[in-house]
């Protein structure tokens, strides 16, 4: 029966087992899993949360990510008030409602994605940024809905959509409804395509399961941060399935994804804004501003 396990949320940790964000960490989130250096918050902020010693990319919360990427003062958040219901009355060790409320208090977010309009390097675009700290970046109805609305807005305004992913997969507590966010977001990308609007996807650690197997893999250009785990099934479950099989050291990491042809570029965090700016310029429907 072990072969049957089709895990949707697996790797909640960042490379080297650090926490999934500053809030829900195991071990101290500011200790570098690459070189064991420890940093103050302000030190990491100054380096965009990249280890100045070894280049390890620490997780970035969605609001911080937006601050890093978009032109100051240009972000206007939309659909901030969209919240999950609990259609299944789901209760495992705790109720889904409790988990949601707790996640909202802990993260200050309504769900695992922030969407809105912004400018990057003076070019207008729509943005959708996921936050792994909110229930492992899992995709439930809200993530699907806000992503779909972002696509529709981009199509309507004839703008590209820049999407930064970080997700352990589906939101199990929404059962089959969480699975349906895959076709729902795929349909939303199709709306973008029908309008010839570009989708740029930035895959960050970790992007797995249902998110990787839907909109995250449908970008016109696909970028990854260094070291990010990008796998439909993470290494632990693969290992469980075929216990004898030796996993390659960089199994599922951005670097092996590049080698195996699944991403277009690995871009360090410090270069990300410029890189996206170049893409926005290349895909712009009108001349430079």
């Amino acid at each position: 029966m072990s072969r049957r396990i089709d895990v949707s949320v697996e790797d909640r940790g960042s490379p080297g087992d650090s926490g999934g964000g500053r809030v829900v960490g195991r071990g101290h989130p500011n200790t570098c899993p690459g070189c064991s250096s420890h940093f103050r918050d302000d030190e990491l902020e100054a380096t965009l949360r990249v280890c100045p010693q070894c280049g390890h990319h620490f997780p970035v919360r969605a609001r911080d990510r937006i601050r890093q990427l978009v032109d100051g003062g240009t972000f206007s958040e939309l659909d901030a008030d969209v919240r999950s219901a609990d259609p299944l009355n789901f209760f495992d060790l705790r109720s889904y409602r409790d988990r949601l409320a707790e996640a909202e208090v802990e993260t200050g977010l309504g769900d695992a994605i922030i969407t809105g309009s912004a400018k990057i390097e003076r070019r207008p675009c729509e943005v959708a940024v996921m936050d792994f700290a909110f229930m492992g970046g899992s995709m439930g109805s809200v993530v699907g809905e806000k992503f779909a609305r972002a696509c529709e807005r981009a199509a309507e305004r004839q703008l590209p959509l820049v999407c930064v992913t970080a997700s352990g997969g589906a939101r199990m507590q929404e059962g089959i409804l969480s699975l349906m966010q895959m076709p729902k977001t795929v349909c939303a990308v199709d709306v973008l395509r029908d309008s010839s609007c570009a989708l740029f996807v930035v895959l960050t650690h970790p992007t797995t399961a249902g998110v990787l197997a839907s909109f995250a893999s449908l970008g016109d250009v696909t970028i990854s941060e260094p070291g990010a785990l990008l796998a439909f099934t993470g290494p632990r479950v693969v290992q469980q399935t075929v216990p004898g099989e030796k996993l390659p050291d960089d199994f599922g990491r951005a670097e092996s994804n590049l080698r195996l042809g699944h991403v277009d570029a690995i871009v360090e965090r410090g270069d990300l804004r410029t890189f996206i700016g170049r893409l926005l310029a290349l895909f712009a429907k009108t001349e430079a501003p």
Binding site: E145, G175, S178, M182, C187, L212
Partner: protein
């Protein structure tokens, strides 16, 4: 659970009320099954289930029946529903994934394309079919078949029956996530009418890869879920043996899927499950697909594609905004 042979007038009126409720739920006509005579009793069964949400035991019974080793598989239905069937093989790159059967065949005097998972009956075939768990190569073959259907105007059927995508090293290295995404994308884009039916296990991404259809049906004892009960139990309860509890919590059974608007209709099975009578199961499945196809074939291709997108667009449940 079995319907009365002759429901009383009061029961009929209750049925109509519930039927109306169901129809409003999805704003779609209910499936007829075979023959007008049987409609009411079949409807009754669906509605009985919905009146009283299935118990944990009933949900688990579905899990067991969906995985029943004697349950009819895709090729059992192909054999019974198609007058002729030519299998299309290979992804044109690496291999021919035997976990996904693709082909074209003659169904009710017309040509259709089919993609479907195939688990395999005996030990040898089960290994060859990888227990119905496809590799990226399988989705690539399915995409090829969808594109052929699109080129030639063949309606596309898909039969979903997989524990999930295969969690192995090579499958990951060949881009499993990406190909599940692209298979869905192809199903959004093709112009032809598409009908999917979950005939056993509708397991997670491996299932949804071929289930983005104009109409999605589900057999009475099939399950459709984001994760296996065991997987869910292992993660949320940290205890694999809590699978039954997990299944009751995430409700993968057909009745719940219908009520949540995930599937458009439930396809009745013979009493005791599809494994008790392949021919009867196939007959009802065939009639249900035929009905579903008739509904969507009247629609212009462009509009059908819009409706297909709109249908999935509405899936999910949000909290009512605070006022």
């Amino acid at each position: 659970m079995m319907p009365d042979a002759d429901p009383s007038r009061a029961e009929k009126s209750e049925l109509l009320r519930l039927r109306d409720r169901l129809a409003r739920l999805r704003e779609l006509p209910l499936v007829r099954g075979v023959g007008v005579q049987d409609e009411l009793s079949r409807l009754q069964r669906q509605i009985e289930r919905i009146k009283a949400a299935p118990s944990a035991e009933e949900v688990w019974r579905s899990v067991e029946l969906a995985r029943h080793l004697e349950r009819p598989y895709t090729l059992d239905y192909v054999e019974r529903l198609f007058d002729d069937f030519v299998e299309l093989r290979g992804d044109r790159h690496l291999s021919d994934d035997r976990a996904l059967v693709c082909g074209i065949g003659r169904f009710r005097r017309r040509t259709v394309a089919l993609v479907g998972h195939q688990k395999g009956r005996d030990v040898h075939e089960r290994a060859r079919r990888n227990f119905g768990m496809a590799f990226p190569e399988g989705y690539r073959k399915a995409i090829r078949t969808m594109e052929l259907a699109h080129r030639h105007g063949f309606p596309l059927f898909s039969l979903v029956d997989t524990p999930g995508a295969y969690p192995g090293v090579a499958a990951e290295q060949h881009g499993q996530g990406g190909w599940i995404a692209r298979s869905q994308m192809t199903m959004v884009r093709i112009d032809v009418a598409t009908v999917a039916c979950v005939i056993g296990e509708g397991g997670s991404g491996g299932a949804v890869a071929i289930a983005l259809a104009d109409r999605v049906l589900m057999q009475e004892n099939a399950v459709y879920s984001v994760i296996s009960p065991e997987g869910c139990a292992a993660i949320l309860w940290r205890d694999k043996t809590q699978a039954k509890k997990a299944a009751a919590a995430f409700k993968p059974d057909a009745v719940h899927c219908l009520e949540l608007g995930i599937v458009d209709a439930v396809v009745p099975e013979p009493p005791g499950g599809a494994q008790t009578d392949y021919d009867a199961a196939a007959e009802v499945l065939g009639a249900s697909i035929e009905d579903a196809l008739a509904e969507i074939e009247g629609v212009d291709a462009g509009q059908r594609r819009s409706q297909r997108r709109a249908k999935f667009r509405t899936m999910g449940v949000l909290a009512a905004p605070e006022s």
